[in-house]
Amino acid sequence: MLTIRNLHAKVADKDILRGINLTVKSGEVHAIMGPNGSGKSTLAGVLTGKDAFEVTEGEVLFEGKNLLDMKPEERAGEGIFLAFQYPVEIPGVTNNYFLRASVNSVRKYRGEPELDAAAFLKLVKAKAKVLHMPEDLLKRAVNEGFSGGEKKRNEIFQMAVLEPKLCILDETDSGLDIDAMKAVAEGVNALRSKDRAMIVITHYQRLLDHIVPDFVHVLSEGRIVKTGGKGLALELEAHGYDPIKAGMATV
């Protein structure tokens, strides 16, 4: 589904990604862990087309198509979804309104007919039920005045409604207490399927107790320095990132 080859990117003349290689197949859940500043969020930004990042080398293919040539909205149309680390507040636009614009833009991109208000409401209500999302959140302005937990749940809710092929979760656990994190993880797990891949970016292992990955990659200084199964996350939790960094230095 996703192939990243030798990806280099910089932000304001500072090299952040220095040769990422990663292959993600449908149905797989990949965790990307790493210390602050290792390039985790840059990778998420590059995959979704944030223009602050400049790709200097390498390629990214999504279902065989060159992702880096696409605008952010085209990537969404192709089926890529980023759950933001810091979901953006949009006062003046209700969640409902925003989601309908989003769903219909994606449908239009795919050449599907747009949903009318009634069909959309039906879809949204069904998804809200599955995720135990309070319906009143839909009537409120996008993320405005939402608690940290509500914001993250709202991201997962959007993900559920848009049904992407590839979900990228950027530090979805940050700023959440344990109950809120569990609720979010439950939502994510409900969306796992054999047709959908996920990249879970996280600093801490604790999220991976709840969203159990198939692969764990350790990112350090812009490269994937170690790949393993879910046990790798536990190892990192016990010993921290330093032994891996030290190992790198001696290689």
Partner: protein, 405 residues
């Protein structure tokens, strides 16, 4: 330039308001049209208007379907009342052409002062037709009264002088919508006089969608008695050169006024919003929120005056002007002006000027919404602060369509 129109106008007009017209004309002769040297017109150059030679309008055919029975629509075509396409008036209220207004209605020309303003004097120089609306004491009218002005120049540019008088009785409640639109180049010079008795409530909305080459100058003047409540939403979309004046005077205690405006300009449109809130009595509250959205090479002006007179203690006045600039070539001049002569008052004012937020744009794009629709959605979000406060659903929907398209 306009004086040559007086004699031909009088040939057709009711003699009823001749004295008022004569007084206004005498005053108009002494009031030069404003220039940018006048403080209140510093940012608005009316030279294009002053240099145009306007004619009296032709009568337009009253064609089109009759107004729906469940509505209260009153049409004016080129400034003339068109009863054939207007609604019948329910017996609980009184609405009609000023030409036929009951003699017990002596308020015409008493609220908007011809002495102060050349354009108001110009309008009064042509008083004949126009609409009066009287909501008697204790009458609560649910259906909005819609006053619809359509103007069109067929050959030479025409000038129309819409005039409206709204009288809200004690404990009475009503909603009035004024709507202005048209075709080609013409000049609408509108005066709306509003008076509210004790405990009267008026919800006023103005939708200005004149043609892109039209001139629109309007003076809405309001006098409020004790414990009355007045709200206006001034929605400006059309016109090449637009000046919206709203003047509210508190004439009794514990009255409350909400004066909101939304102005959307593009291309070379110029929109000037001029408001005066006169706290002449104690214990009154005014809330003012104007939002501007400026694109292209458009020019917006906001000039908000608040007077708090010496005895107007416990005044609560709040004024905010927020502007969204969608292009590098758009300009805004904003000028709050507070003159406070009482000492126990709460008065605040603030102005912000900003652009669309890149983080919000990326968020929308990452959800599949292309850049242009995302920009429009965020623009609508900005406008929504005003639009959402309009109580009439159809107008909210109309504004959404206009902005989001």
């Amino acid at each position: 330039m306009f004086t040559k129109l007086f004699a031909p106008f009088d040939r057709d007009a009711t003699p009823r308001y001749r004295a008022l017209r004569e007084e206004a004309r005498a005053r108009f002769a002494t009031l030069p049209l404003p220039t940018v040297r006048s403080e209140d017109w510093r940012f608005t150059n009316i030279a294009p208007l002053a240099e145009t030679s306007f004619e009296l309008p032709n009568a337009l055919m009253e064609s089109g379907p009759a107004a729906p029975k469940n509505k209260l629509q009153f049409h004016f075509l080129n400034g003339r009342f068109a009863p054939a396409i207007s609604s019948p008036v329910p017996s609980s209220i009184s609405i009609g052409s000023l030409a036929n207004a009951p003699s017990s209605l002596p308020l015409v020309g008493k609220i908007a002062d011809v002495r102060a303003n050349a354009f108001t004097a110009l309008n009064a120089s042509f008083v004949a037709d126009g609409l009066y609306v009287t909501i008697p004491d204790d009458v609560i009218l649910e259906t909005p009264i819609e006053i619809i002005h359509y103007a069109r120049s067929d050959e030479k540019p025409v000038v129309i002088q819409p005039r409206t008088l709204i009288v809200i009785g004690k404990n009475a409640r009503a909603t009035v919508v004024e709507r202005y639109f048209g075709g080609q180049t013409y000049f609408t010079n509108a005066v709306t006089e509003i008076t509210l008795s004790d405990y009267g409530v008026l919800d006023h909305v103005k939708v200005q969608e004149e043609s892109v080459s039209a001139y629109h100058i309007a003076n809405t003047q309001v006098v409020m008695a004790a414990k009355s409540n007045f709200t206006t939403h001034y929605l400006s979309l059309g016109g090449a050169l637009v000046r919206n004046e709203v003047r509210v005077r508190f004439d009794g205690e514990h009255a409350e006024a909400t004066v909101n405006g939304l102005y959307l300009a593009d291309g070379k449109q110029h929109m000037d919003n001029f408001t005066v809130i006169d706290h002449a009595q104690p214990n009154c509250a005014s809330h003012e929120l104007y939002k501007g959205i400026l694109d292209g090479k458009s020019h917006g002006v906001f000039n908000g005056k608040i007077f708090v007179r010496k005895d107007a203690q416990k005044t609560d006045a709040k004024q905010t002007n927020k502007v969204l600039l969608l292009s590098d070539d758009a300009t805004i001049n904003t000028k709050p002006q507070l003159e406070i002569f009482a000492d126990d008052v709460k008065c605040t004012h603030g102005a912000t000027i900003g652009q669309l937020d890149a983080t919000q744009l990326f968020y929308l794009q990452s959800r599949g919404i292309p850049l242009e629709p995302a920009r429009r959605l965020l623009t609508f979000a900005f406008a929504n602060d005003i639009v959402n406060r309009v109580k009439i659903e159809a107008i909210r929907a109309e504004m959404e369509t206009r902005i989001v398209r």
